[in-house]
Amino acid sequence: MTDRRHLVERGAPALLLLALALAAIVPTPSGLRLDSADTEATERWASALDGLPAEPTILVAFDPDLGTYPEIRPTVRVAIADLLAMEARLAFVSLTPEGRALLLAELQRLERLDVNSARLLDLGFVPGAEAALVSLADGPTARVRAGAIARELATEGSAAFEALLVVGGNDIGPRSWVEQYVPRVDPRPVLAITPTVLLPEIQPYLASGQLDAVFGTPRDGATYRRSAELGSLERLREAPEPPASGLLLGMAVAIAALAHGWIARVARAAGGAGREQERP
């Protein structure tokens, strides 16, 4: 390997980082966009929320993981703002340590942004995974502290929740909630926001109607964010939106690097076959 090529290979990651940082700063060209024309997921979401009574109490199961949360974070923040904009009361619970850590950060963000704390209730962390889901179906009263939502939960138990929103991750996602929690409580809309990696396992639940609406791809999330009208809660939206130019650049680099390796491999194979034919 020549010194020049060695230098280029060593410096490539730093150059890529620099280019990505620049792409995040410069304005996104009009031809690039994350959202799509397919609004089915957004319509299902809106339809599920339209069926809720005024000022609904919603259980938010918050169990994303640190690795995939950046993919869904902008959508989660807009969804929470959207629910608060419709005067919903949100009770948060986590079943994984990572989900709990991320929830604490999100709750502190909501506090910093002056969200009415009377509309939020932190039910804390419940260990035990599937066993915890069964326990929550019986009612989270034991973990409830104070406030209007707490009083409602103390009297009605899990029946106080008029909808369930699952923010899923690799450990606990909509599948576990549908299998362990939903059969033990009265029917209610179940919404979910998940990283793409979970989509194949939750699609059957969506098709069967056990899940009412899912944002399971970055495109669905971006389409929803574009259409969400948050009114006075626009400040809860993540700003700036993930830059499409940065994504395109990263993907283009990945495509170029993989395609180069693939072409080189095919060329080597063709060269080897040619030499075989030339042999007497």
């Binding site: 890529l16 009009s30 031809g31 690039l32 966009r33 994350l34 799509s36 024309a37 397919d38 640190l66 690795g67 949360y69 950046p70 340590p97 850590a101 991320l102 604490l104 950060a105 709750l107 502190q108 963000r109 932190d122 804390g124 962390f125 419940v126 260990p127 035990g128 995974a129 066993a131 915890a132 069964v134 326990s135 019986d138 059969p183 033990r184 793409t196 989509l199 194949p200 396992e201 699609q203 059957p204 791809t217 970055p218 495109r219 499409a244 395109l248 990263g250 993907m251 680099v253 990945a254 495509i255 690097a257 993989l258 395609a259 180069h260 390796g261 693939w262 080189a264 491999r265 080597r268």
Partner: protein
């Protein structure tokens, strides 16, 4: 002696929970609730034991001057920082602002950085596997290339077509393979559960 006890426990707890799920009975519900609470306590205890074991192991390694001393110090300092932030006098536990800062300003960015590095390491690994010449590596990289092209954030008609194609790929071939895997795992779990219930071990094969 140990195997029949485990099998008996599994059978009793399983039947109890199933009966509670199918039959509405207050006494049964209370007993099932006790069992579930016991499971939750065991899970919480196991998590705590895991943390204590990790701290003990790293502390012992440090004391015996073996392994990775910098890694051990970082683990112990991390555990201590989180405990002090949440348990110091006057702290609000897990909801304390100091704990939130440690999570939001340190833990989440560090994890995001590690996952960001996956971008580079995955490409390097893919290129290395290609240079190895294995046919499945070529197929894997070709599939990755197609997926990347389908997910390009392009607008207009081309973007809509790519989005539709990506949706179809996720809903049909990827979902089919994934569900096949899930079914296989479910069948294996059912077989393992049946073997446990019947007390069949590896020595009986």
């Amino acid at each position: 002696m140990r195997r029949p006890v485990v099998a008996a426990l599994v059978i009793v707890v399983g039947i109890l929970l199933l009966a509670d799920f199918l039959v509405v009975n207050e006494s049964l519900g209370e007993i099932a609730g006790l069992v579930i609470d016991a499971v939750i306590l065991v899970a919480a205890g196991a998590a705590l034991a895991g943390v204590v074991s990790l701290a003990w192991r790293r502390g012992y390694d440090l004391w015996r001057r073996r392994g990775d001393p910098i890694g051990a110090i970082l683990v112990l300092v991390g555990i201590a920082a989180m405990l002090v932030a949440g348990l110091r006098p006057g702290a609000e536990g897990a909801g304390d602002p100091a704990v939130g800062w440690l999570v939001a300003a340190l833990l989440a960015p560090i994890a995001a950085t590690l996952f960001g590095l996956l971008f580079v390491t995955t490409i390097v690994a893919a290129r290395r596997s290609l240079s190895g010449g294995a046919r499945d590596a070529v197929l894997l990289v070709a599939a990755a290339l197609v997926t990347l092209v389908l997910l390009l954030p392009v607008g207009g008609e081309v973007g809509d077509w790519l989005a539709q194609a990506a949706g179809w790929t996720l809903a049909v071939p990827v979902a089919a393979v994934f569900r096949g895997l899930l079914l296989g795992i479910a069948i294996l779990a059912a077989v393992f559960a049946a073997r446990t219930l019947l007390g069949i071990g590896a020595t009986d094969d």
